[in-house]
């Protein structure tokens, strides 16, 4: 190992360990000891990572309340950053909260982190064009049954057992913290970006199933059949039309293949 490499490794581990004993490669002087000098890097490292997380996890901060700082400390201690862009440091937070004690006993926290992260990644996902109703109307009637929608790639669905979206909304608006609610059946929160604005909303059960089928690449005829199973033959087509109009207006549809 080169001495430069050894110096960098020793200093890096000293910063990560938050050890008060500085490695022998660094020196102090009359102005400050080596330990006091090292402490600036140790402190700065933790502050920077915590600040980066605070920007992305507003909902989690609202939900965790006083426990938020401790939660961040534990994540920072357990997870060195491995990406050159600090913006990606939160990518592992939801998984950490899934397995780490004591957070795993409060599954609402991992769920909240997952929703926050979906919103965060939608924000600077790749730009995609979207189609409007007029363009879809130009599809000839005989082609409709075989039409397959291409939805925006930034679109994400987060399964929620708790009212995580309400916490996120409170954080975004600066409202008071909601009370925790556990739903009888899981809800599906859709996260997507329309041009520059990130949105999230709860999907109705039939919309969720049709959307998942559309994402799988099922044909328009198959989507209508799914709806018929939910709402009956007569209601299926009007519901499908309403959903399509809604998705197009929300900028969720990138195109289609016939």
């Amino acid at each position: 190992m080169s001495s430069l490499q050894a110096i960098q490794q020793q200093l890096l581990h000293a910063v990560l360990a938050a050890d008060s004993i500085p490695p022998p490669v660094i020196s102090g002087n009359a102005i400050a000891s080596a330990g006091d000098r090292l402490a600036i890097y140790q402190h700065g490292y933790r502050v920077r990572l915590r600040d980066a997380l605070k920007i992305e996890f507003g909902g989690l901060q609202c939900m965790a309340g006083k426990a938020f700082e401790n939660l961040l400390d534990k994540y920072v201690a357990a997870h060195p950053s491995e990406h050159y862009n600090i913006r990606w440091y939160g990518a592992g937070l939801a998984a950490f909260l899934d397995y780490a004690h004591p957070w795993r006993n409060k599954p609402q926290l991992a769920e909240m982190a997952r929703l926050d992260w979906a919103i965060s990644t939608a924000f600077d996902a790749a730009d995609e064009s979207s189609k409007d109703i007029a363009e879809l109307s130009a599809v000839p009637p005989e082609a409709w049954a075989g039409l397959r929608l291409s939805l925006q790639k930034n679109l994400q669905i987060v399964t929620c057992l708790f009212n995580a979206a309400a916490y996120r909304r409170a954080a975004d608006r600066g409202d008071t913290r909601p009370h925790l609610r556990r739903f009888d059946t899981p809800r599906q929160i859709l996260v997507w970006r329309d041009a520059t604005t990130v949105h999230y909303r709860t999907l109705e059960n039939d919309e969720w199933q049709v959307l998942v089928a559309a994402l799988r690449g099922e044909t328009f005829a198959a989507l209508c059949e799914l709806l018929a199973a939910h709402r009956g033959e007569a209601a299926a087509m009007p519901r499908m039309v309403a959903l399509l109009q809604h998705w197009l207006a929300a900028g969720m549809v990138q195109g289609w293949t016939l």
């Binding site: 110096i7 020196s27 102005i31 080596a34 006091d36 600036i40 890097y41 600090i86 600077d124 520059t196």
Partner: protein, 285 residues
């Protein structure tokens, strides 16, 4: 006066007085840029796939000359250069067409771990050779000279054989790169390590200094901490005057990274820089 801009053999354009572009000032800068002549962007903030950051970037690109300033090149690390990072940086440079691209004379991590900090190097012949070969590779990839900035540091290494300014100067000469001199960082490191800021200014190759940063610091118990979150201090203004006397006309900007005041305050600091520098430059002309 040691130099005027037209004597610089490696000269890139002179841009005047600028600011670091931060989200907090997007609206205000477009509404009323005042006498802000150019902007420096943090490259990593725009190394994203899409969305608002790139829309804002395009808006500013139409209105201002831009330069790109990175924090993740990690030119001094003993880890291999991050090819993914380099190609994204190159792609961004193609989109922005900046007047120049800069990063720091430091390392940010090793063994795949990133400290997201500007870690100082030991000033040894070994480190010098290592950095020089990497700067050459980066410059070959980007097909342009880069600027390297001096960082604030709190530790020194028992192994160091050179002063910081000797090391910075040697990197610039041997790799044929340019220097972004952060006046605040010179002051912070001088105070923390007990060297003379004037020795620093006199010790680096003047013709390679292409840009100045001006920023603020925080007084700690024993050491002063480069926070870049406060107004420029009197000591740094004094050193700036010395730097203008010594280096001549150099593109200058206020760099605020946190604790953002209204834009008007930064513009006032920039006017102060102009008011200090212009009489000296005009007297020398």
């Amino acid at each position: 006066m040691a130099m005027t801009s037209n004597e610089r053999p490696h000269s890139l354009p002179y841009l005047g007085y600028g600011l670091g572009l931060r989200v907090e000032h997007y609206e205000a800068l477009l509404a009323d840029p005042g006498r802000v002549e150019w902007l420096e962007i943090v490259s990593e903030n725009y190394m994203v796939q899409g969305g608002l950051p790139l829309i804002w970037l395009d808006r500013f690109r139409e209105r201002f000359p831009l330069v790109m300033h990175g924090v993740s090149l990690s030119i001094g690390s003993t880890d291999p250069l991050d090819e993914d990072y380099l190609s994204r940086l190159q792609a961004l440079a193609q989109r922005v067409e900046p007047a120049w691209v800069s990063d720091h004379l430091c390392w940010t991590g090793v063994q795949g771990v990133n400290l997201h900090d500007l870690m100082p190097l030991p000033y040894t012949e070994e480190a010098l050779e290592h950095v020089v070969s990497r700067v050459k590779r980066v410059q070959d990839t980007l097909k342009r000279r880069i600027l390297l900035e001096n960082v604030s540091s709190y530790v020194t290494f028992a192994d160091s054989q050179l002063t910081e300014w000797e090391f910075l100067g040697a990197v610039a000469e041997r790799a044929d790169c340019l220097i972004l001199l952060d006046i605040n960082n010179v002051h912070v490191s001088a105070m923390n390590h007990g060297f003379s800021s004037m020795d620093y200014l006199r010790g680096i190759p003047a013709e390679r200094v292409q840009q100045f940063h001006l920023a603020g610091y925080e007084q700690g118990e024993q050491l002063i901490i480069d926070t870049h979150d406060a107004p420029v201090s009197n000591a740094v203004w004094d050193l700036y005057v010395e730097a203008v006397r010594h280096f001549g006309r150099v593109s200058t900007m206020i760099e605020r990274d946190d604790n953002f005041p209204p834009l008007a305050e930064l513009r006032a600091e920039l006017e102060h820089a102009r008011a200090l520098a212009e009489p000296l430059l005009q007297a020398a002309a």
